[in-house]
Symmetry: C2
């Protein structure tokens, strides 16, 4: 049986999972693909610590060059994460004629353009199924399964940590910090969860989804990013009363020839499928011109689910290598109906706004007056009951569609009023 040699750089959690699958499923895979995937070398900076999978000491090296320079290795799997030296390793490996499998969303979001161009120029492939949605085969679905489709929008719950925290707040009626502690306790959040909670991880994945759906590799700085750390239990409950759940969504949306690319907490109707995505699960909801609205749901992280995606990439690559095929569908085609990126200031939408005001006559009139001055009209208002400890009362307003810029100006003016006691909270509403 023909053998394809691969080298693995980075043998942490997901890397160990790949080793385990290639060993445990050796027979199944050979039977399915008619050749053997041979793990020839493993590079890790940590050569001594225990892993939850047995690794043959002879395969281990501390020097990535032992893999990159090995002429018998056809595919390099990069699982060290982070920008450097991952970028250098991949660049070198491609130049040495290797094909790449990676789960590195940060790297692809930051340097995808350069790496994809290099791969294309040299006739090599970069596969990255594990970079978004763990074991959910979303990359393959967008690239191959929906190959004839154009996309209108993609809405993703793509960060398990944030979704766990919001679900926990909603289901157990607890505040953000308590939910985050629970996430840490259960191993769903890093010690420093900033990247997840503040939306950067979602933004990395959104850059990749945007590339697949619209053929545009947008720069990370052009993605509007807002995390969930300012979401309070009160907001979750008020939203619920209005028939909405709050989710951290990664959104890429074509409207009037402009592409919006943004990550932020979002109110979505409670009967939408995305509202039912609880805990650390991920889901990607795409709207396409032929296949309609589709949802892909599954665990967004985990050793074996991400490794499952890596191995599916390996299988595809081995088929390509066996046939001497470079799969041109790897290259996304730019959606030429998009004329420009839409700045967040120019995005229009409905909003949920939570004001904290003194319970005095005339307050609502003042707020409504300022909103009207900026051309913003109110769809509904409700004043919430004041708790004993509160000096001020919460007022929740839903506004009709307005431009973000106008809303920001209005809110700044409102927040300067004497009767307003806390910075107002505005959360976007999406019909999805």
């Amino acid at each position: 049986m023909k053998k394809i040699n691969i080298g693995l750089i980075g043998c942490g959690n997901v890397g160990s999972g790949v080793v385990k699958i290639l060993r445990d499923k050796k027979t199944l895979l050979s039977e399915k693909i008619g050749l053997e995937i041979n793990l020839k070398k493993i590079c890790d900076k940590d050569l001594s610590s225990k892993r939850n999978v047995h690794i043959d000491k002879d395969l281990l090296t501390g020097d990535a060059k032992d893999i990159i320079n090995d002429p018998q290795i056809d595919i390099v799997v990069e699982l060290i994460g982070g920008l450097h030296p991952a970028k250098e390793f991949i660049t070198e490996a491609i130049k040495k004629g290797k094909n790449i499998v990676t789960a590195n969303k940060a790297l692809l979001a930051e340097h995808g353009a350069e790496l994809f161009a290099l791969a294309k120029d040299t006739g090599k492939s970069i596969y990255f199924e594990a970079s978004v949605g763990g074991g959910i085969p979303i990359i393959k679905a967008l690239r191959e399964g929906l190959v004839a489709n154009k996309f209108n929008s993609v809405f993703g719950i793509v960060n398990g940590t944030s979704n766990f925290v919001l679900s926990e707040m909603s289901a157990n009626n607890c505040e953000f910090h308590k939910a985050l502690s629970e996430a840490k306790l259960r191993g769903f959040a890093e010690k420093d969860p900033t990247l997840d909670i503040e939306g950067l991880d979602s933004a990395h994945k959104l850059v990749i989804l945007t590339y697949l759906c619209f053929g545009k590799l947008v720069s990370l700085k052009d993605v509007f990013i807002e995390g969930i750390s300012r979401i309070s239990l009160a907001d979750i409950n008020y939203a619920k009363e209005l028939g909405f759940e709050i989710k951290l969504l990664a959104i890429a949306k074509k409207e009037d020839g402009q592409l919006q690319v943004r990550v932020h907490p979002t109110l979505i109707p409670e009967n939408h499928l995305l509202s039912s995505v609880a805990g650390v699960f991920n889901a990607i909801y795409v709207s396409s011109d032929l296949a309609g609205n589709l949802l892909f749901y599954g665990p967004g992280a985990g050793q074996l689910s991400a490794a499952s995606a890596v191995v599916s990439d390996l299988v595809d690559l081995t088929q390509d290598l066996k046939a001497g095929l470079f799969r041109p569908t790897m290259n996304s085609v730019e959606d030429k109906s998009i004329t420009k990126l839409c700045k967040i200031d120019d995005v229009s939408g409905r909003y949920y706004i939570h004001f904290t005001v003194l319970d005095k006559p005339g307050v609502l009139a003042k707020i409504a007056g300022i909103l009207a001055k900026f051309g913003i009209s109110i769809a509904s208002v409700s004043q919430k009951v004041k708790s004993h400890s509160q000096q001020a009362v919460p007022v929740v307003i839903i506004i009709h569609e307005a431009k973000e810029k106008n809303l920001r100006l209005a809110l700044a003016a409102i927040d300067r009023l004497n009767v307003v006691k806390e910075k107002s909270v505005a959360i976007r509403i999406e019909e999805v």
Copy 2:
């Protein structure tokens, strides 16, 4: 640019969609795949009637042999449906060296073993993404995206008509026949909807899903099939009170080394994602050993969604042809942990049971006594309010896990009681 010639047999609804996509997306597809998919001939028995897409008269033929015998045609797309002459056309085409794309679930469910064997022996491929779930790329996900996974179960809402009817009953509080009329009115049900409503269409798709997940092409006669025509509005509402929705599920499930393959109305917890799948939408929920629990959701039917799946198959096949590749992952590998098919009599599960009894003392005791005699224990009982017109009252019982066979015997005995006024209704409960 290299050209791959295809022939289309059957230019009805989906066929016209394929013609439309190949024409409207010609540039996009060429750009993505680096070659041209050329629709060389179209065969349809109806050469005169108007279609919603323009078809060049020169391409049309009334004789499938014009396609099957054309040495320049590499791929035959079969979209006539039904068993004959579809089977003969495909068999002939394979023998003439063509690869096949089909959406014909009935044919694959009935004669898949023979056709797949023929294709394998001759080194040709049969692609069938459009056979299950319309435009949802579920076949590709199971075969390629989850290539390293073993599956524990697959639960599918795979018939849009039935799901529309059940959703309509549930959402609009109407009886089966009213919901079915509405489905017909809106074009979601055929004039004779038996195939959809009685579960046979779901069973066809289940045979295909079972083949992909477990590598076994079960015979249609080994699939237990029960439709939704006996589901009443009362049952939907009682189930709702208990926290369940009723869905027609296609289920393949491995338990204790035995494979259960069955289609029937099922109570599933209302907070499960499958419960939120409304209208004509389809969803397939799979449980896998590596990637965990995944859901794939989208429109299960429709001209362009099914055609989108056909075109994705065409694209895959053109890549294979260009590279001279036969993709061995096309062949499912048998799950050897399965020792036998489990007969429906031997399936164990929880049940919802609806009795219609006289409102007299001792009735419940009689029912409970018979259930106990067959080793069946009751989890909950509730007697429903009698409406004015009723002589008898509904009693709803949930039982703990019991064997189907024992339950059937118990129900037959109960139904013979004088105090029981209608045939009892038993619906399986799945935890999913």
